[in-house]
């Protein structure tokens, strides 16, 4: 299950969705908005997506993860819009028969999501300035 949403992420519901009787391990990852980026103070982030392609790449990430580990069920949700410090921007929940698999599959899924999925964040700094975050050398 993959989803983009402007609403707060209900990670408990997400976790319940992936629990399965044959899966002894469930791993949930939450990405939350940090108050510091390096040594600069952030007050909020704005997340934006290219939605159709983002959902497609999230679905591909799910398929890739299932091809590599015996996933019982998995769910990935990314939030969009304005997020305050401490809010959950992304949640990935995975169940597998054994715990090592569940850890590896969840880690792989969030790593791929961050690498592939067309979503961008804008830092809203404490001094009132803003910066879109585009990893790599500055343009």
């Amino acid at each position: 299950m993959i989803r983009l949403t402007h609403d707060p992420i209900d990670y408990s519901a997400l976790t319940e969705q992936v629990r399965r009787p044959h899966c002894g391990g469930v791993v949930l990852f939450l990405g939350t908005v940090r108050d510091l980026t390096g040594d600069r103070v952030t007050v909020a982030l704005d997340y934006e997506a290219y939605p159709a392609l983002a959902e497609k790449k999230m679905a591909e990430t799910e398929a890739d993860t299932r091809a590599r580990w015996p996933v019982g069920e998995m769910a990935m949700v990314h939030r969009l819009g304005r997020l305050d410090i401490g809010e959950v921007s992304v949640a990935v929940a995975v169940s597998c028969p054994h715990r090592a698999e569940a850890f590896e599959a969840c880690r792989y899924a969030i790593d791929r999501l961050k690498e592939l999925v067309p979503i961008w964040k804008k830092e809203n700094w404490a001094d009132g300035s803003t910066d879109w975050v585009h990893p790599g050398s500055p343009s």
Binding site: L53, V133, P135
Partner: protein, 81 residues
């Protein structure tokens, strides 16, 4: 043909538009589109070098011919998560 290109994140801020349009010859490739964009919107030139282009909802190779009326998007390096 006119090719409309959706812009996101800093690319939108650099142009002040969430979509721009450039003229392309028929059978133009993604590489041609990239050059046309940099020429028509010099502010985008730096970021464009680091950005991907998507055509009809898939990341596009430079050699792909841009189909007429394609949905095209300029995708700066991603930072979700």
């Amino acid at each position: 043909m006119q090719c409309r290109v959706k812009l996101f994140a800093r690319a939108r801020d650099l142009t002040g538009a969430d979509e721009v349009s450039v003229a392309l010859p028929d059978a133009a490739t993604v590489a041609d589109l990239r050059r046309a964009l940099a020429s028509a919107y010099p502010a985008l030139a730096g970021l464009l070098k680091r950005s991907a282009l998507a055509v009809n909802n898939e990341f596009a190779d430079e050699t792909l011919k841009v189909p007429p009326a394609a949905e095209v998007a300029l995708l700066p390096p991603v930072s979700g998560g």
